[in-house]
Symmetry: C2
Subunit: 183 residues, 2 copies
Amino acid sequence: MRETGVKDRILETASRLFYDQGYNQTGINQIIDEADIARASLYHHFPSKTDLLLAYLDRTHELWFEELEIHMRPIAGARERLLALFDFRVRRQLKLKYKGCHFNKIVAEACEDPQVFDRVRAHKDRFRKYIYDLVRQTGHRHTDDDTLADTIFLLLEGGIAMGALYRSPEYTEKGRRIVASFL
Amino acid sequence: MRETGVKDRILETASRLFYDQGYNQTGINQIIDEADIARASLYHHFPSKTDLLLAYLDRTHELWFEELEIHMRPIAGARERLLALFDFRVRRQLKLKYKGCHFNKIVAEACEDPQVFDRVRAHKDRFRKYIYDLVRQTGHRHTDDDTLADTIFLLLEGGIAMGALYRSPEYTEKGRRIVASFL
DNA sequence: GTCTATAAAATGATAGAC
DNA sequence: GTCTATCATTTTATAGAC
């Protein structure tokens, strides 16, 4: 069993469990069992559970934007691309069974660790910038360039949160229709 | 020490800790210590930690709408009342130090208990209806009565979530400005 | 109803052999 | 680097005296 294989399997298993069950409800023992690795192997690669959490956030952040790029690649036109952000989120909700935003979930678990907050903020900041750039391309040259971008961002965040509660994409879809009426 | 006094003190202490630290990160022992009651007294009034959680949700729900009523009472006019919803949320964010929505936090902690989900949905349903009723009073007799209400609801939810992340009321305030431009 | 003592299991993390 | 055995805490919950 190659080292990288083991390390990856640990991180993949931990990622799945952290998202499905919650970080605090996932014990080290369960990760060891389900990844089928030795106890000491986990602590060799990740000295503490917090290190595993930070690696989870980094990995999820990377995968998130990779999937976004794949989704957005074939879509042309700033207006259509803005609406595609909602489609991207709806598709993810379906795929992930409406368990909400990976990052907001971790913040909600009352983790006070500043390293965690920094990573989550960095993730949201980057996505917000992505929206802002698209809005500018629509030709909306009003003073409220940013207001439109903020609206889209908040509707997406609200839609994901309510999707997790109602186990439904309907709020994200409502957000899409609202934005479509603006553009 | 009267029974009701003990029971109330347990629930008050648990409520504070569940919100500040998170439900899963709060142990029964800490509640017993900080409420300064006997171990068996807690289990007498609340047979399990889940019972305590359900009582917390019920209590928070009641207090939430009581505080909303107090905030809204002096405000006249449907438009002003709709905007006052944002002010109410901003004021709460300041008071509660930006720890987010009590109810969304519990859902995010990956509690699968249907009794929990039912209570959180009931809370959101009631607030959503509150918004819908106000929107109808504005005279907005468009087909998109509900769309406006949904917009307000989602902007509020997104604002609270981002408030918890950025420890700032700015996103809720942005939501207010967005809605003010509609009305 | 409240008390203390304790159970039974799970937690995150470490030691030392190989 | 991987293994097994184990530690010290902490977890939720119960028993039985008063």
